[in-house]
Symmetry: C2
Subunit: 218 residues, 2 copies
C-alpha cells in the first residue's frame, strides 16, 4: 500500500488568517505535515507521496516522494489514483492529532473503503483498496460524496470513529483541540503562539498571543 498527502504551503489555511499571519500559517502547515508524516511512518507506512502543485515547497529530508500536479485537488488525486495498483490511503495534511494507532487500525480494516469524517461534512482520511476504480470528490459535503460513490460502486465501507482523527485544524476554534489533545510539532507551535481565554460556561477558546492590530480588529 501507499499513502498520499495533498499539500500546499503558500498562503495555506486562509481560514486561520484572523489569528495567524501568512508566515505563521505557512510555518504551521509545514509542522502539521511533519506531524502527519511522523505518525504514518510510526505506523509502518514506508511509501508516502506528497501531491503538490509546488514541489519546491516541500522541505528536503522528509523521506517522502514528491509528485507535482498543478490541477485542483480532485483532478490531481484522481489522476494519481488511476495509476495505482495497490491500496491507497489519502490523508490530509492538517491532521496533527492523528496517531499511529489510527493509521494501523484503518489500514487493517476488512472493508474496501474506510472513511474518517472531518468536521463540517469533510473527509479527513480515505482508505481505498481498489484505487483503479474509485474516484474522489472533495470539498463541500465530501463525506456524503464518498459514502455515495462507494455505495454506487458496490464497495463495502467502514466509518472510522475517532475524535482525534476527525479533528482537522482549519478554523480558529480548532486550535483548542490541538493544544489540549495534541502532542507533536504543530501543537508545540500553537502552544507558543496562543493563549487560553476562559469565559462563562461555554467552550474554551485560544487567542493569538501577539495581539497585532489586525487580530484585535477581527
Amino acid at each position: 500500500m501507499r499513502a498520499v498527502i495533498p499539500y500546499k504551503k503558500k498562503n495555506a489555511k486562509s481560514r486561520l488568517s484572523n489569528v495567524m499571519t501568512k508566515i505563521q500559517r505557512e510555518t504551521f502547515v509545514e509542522l502539521m505535515l511533519k506531524d502527519v508524516i511522523g505518525s504514518m511512518k510510526e505506523a509502518g507506512i514506508t511509501n508516502i507521496d506528497i501531491l503538490t502543485p509546488s514541489p519546491e515547497e516541500v522541505e528536503d529530508g522528509l523521506g517522502v516522494s514528491v509528485i507535482e500536479d498543478e490541477a485542483d485537488l480532485n483532478e490531481a488525486l484522481n489522476s494519481y489514483l488511476v495509476c495505482q495498483n495497490e491500496p491507497v490511503l489519502i490523508i490530509m495534511a492538517d491532521l496533527p492529532l492523528v496517531r499511529p494507532k489510527h493509521i494501523r487500525e484503518i489500514i487493517s480494516s476488512d472493508e474496501e473503503i474506510v472513511i474518517v469524517p472531518g468536521k463540517g461534512g469533510g473527509t479527513n482520511i480515505l482508505y481505498i483498496r481498489r484505487p483503479d476504480i474509485f474516484r474522489v470528490k472533495y470539498y463541500n459535503s465530501s463525506f456524503e460524496n464518498h459514502c455515495n460513490i462507494a455505495s454506487q460502486l458496490g464497495l463495502s465501507l467502514a466509518k472510522y470513529d475517532s475524535f482525534l482523527a476527525s479533528t482537522d485544524i482549519d478554523e480558529p476554534n480548532d486550535i483548542v483541540e490541538l493544544i489540549l489533545h495534541g502532542k507533536g510539532l504543530a501543537r508545540e507551535y500553537a502552544k507558543n503562539n496562543f493563549v487560553k481565554k476562559e469565559g462563562g460556561n461555554g467552550r474554551v477558546k485560544y487567542y493569538p498571543l501577539q495581539h497585532s492590530q489586525k487580530f484585535l480588529s477581527s
Copy 2:
C-alpha cells in the same frame, strides 16, 4: 453501576438561540435526552437517574428515576456522587450521537476513570469506578480538571477517542454533525428544521428553515 444525566429544559441551549426559538430549543433538548436514554438502555444500563433542578420538566414514562437538586451542576453532581457505592457514569444530555457501543466500551474499561472529551475542553462522559472519592469540576476546562483530579487521586485514566461521543450539540455549527452522523429523534428534528448551505470550500453549515427576522439578523 448507575448512570446519571444532568438535565434542565427551561431556556436550555442558549448558545443555539440564534438558530432556534426558545420553544424549539426546549423541544430539541428533550429529544436529545430521549436519544441519550435510548442509547443507555440499549447498552444494558437499567439504573438511570436524571438530576435536575426542575423534576416537573422530565416527561413521565421514560423509565428513569428523577432526582431533584437546585444546586449548580458541580454541587449537585458531587452531592450525588458522595452517596453512591457503585460505579457511576455521568453523561451529558446533549449527546445524541452517542451509540450503545460507546457506552458498552466505556463501562467495560479496566481503568478507574474513563473520560470522553467534549468540544472546546469540555467533558462529555465521565465513568467513575469509585464515586465516593471522586469530585467533579465541570465548566471551562473541565477535561483538564478531571484529568488532573484523577491524577491527584492516583486513579488510572483512559481517554476514550470517539468523534460521535465527543460531539456535544451546543452551538449552531454542531447541527451539521448531528444531521450527517446522527440517527435518532434529535437528528430528525434538526433535519426538519434546518437546511444545508454549501459555499466555497469550507465546512458545510446548516441554517434554520424558517428565516424569521431574528435569525436573519444574527
